[in-house]
Symmetry: C2
Subunit: 104 residues, 2 copies
């Protein structure tokens, strides 16, 4: 199993609509990817390592797939539509990481 | 529910023992935190957003707790022991984020 982690840096002044991300964007990703996306999770940044430190990322999602190939098969054909949805909830460009799920 | 995400930057030349992290450090964290840690997950960085881009983080873990207070209650009394274990698997200093679990 792999996960694709999408991270939005907590940049002062940046726009991020958490409700749209939770209620519209991520369900759209799941609908388009179908079974190639096993499930996904969404995080909203609260703080850094101490209560007064800002969260490094304002939001993250994690898309769980059987393999990198499954992710590409699910996301690739819909990439244009899904990427075009990003400006509806943020003006940030995400940082992306693909990881092996070592402990799931 | 909240999650504490611990991220180790993928710094060229840095040391990271994934086996120790998976088999020794994270189980120690869970043992010491007890029920204050509901569960945890571990990721090993593979790539960035494209196959030829490096992963931003060489490894991450996510510690799931009912609340920030539960994390502090579980981790705080053992912080010295748990932080002293870090040099056994890496010479990196982690980036830490506490997030609200919006979709779990």
């Amino acid at each position: 199993m792999i996960k694709v982690t999408v991270m939005y840096s907590n940049t002062p002044g940046a726009r991020f609509d958490h409700a749209y991300y939770r209620d519209r964007h991520m369900p759209l990703v799941k609908t388009r990817m179908g079974e190639n996306c096993k499930y996904y999770t969404v995080d909203k940044g609260l703080t850094g390592g101490t209560p007064d430190a800002p969260a490094p990322y304002i939001a993250m999602c994690h898309i769980f797939c059987e393999s990198i190939e499954a992710f590409q098969s699910g996301f690739g054909p819909h990439a244009q539509e899904l990427l075009a949805d990003i400006p509806k909830y943020t003006d940030l460009s995400p940082v992306i990481q693909i990881s092996e799920v070592v402990v799931g």
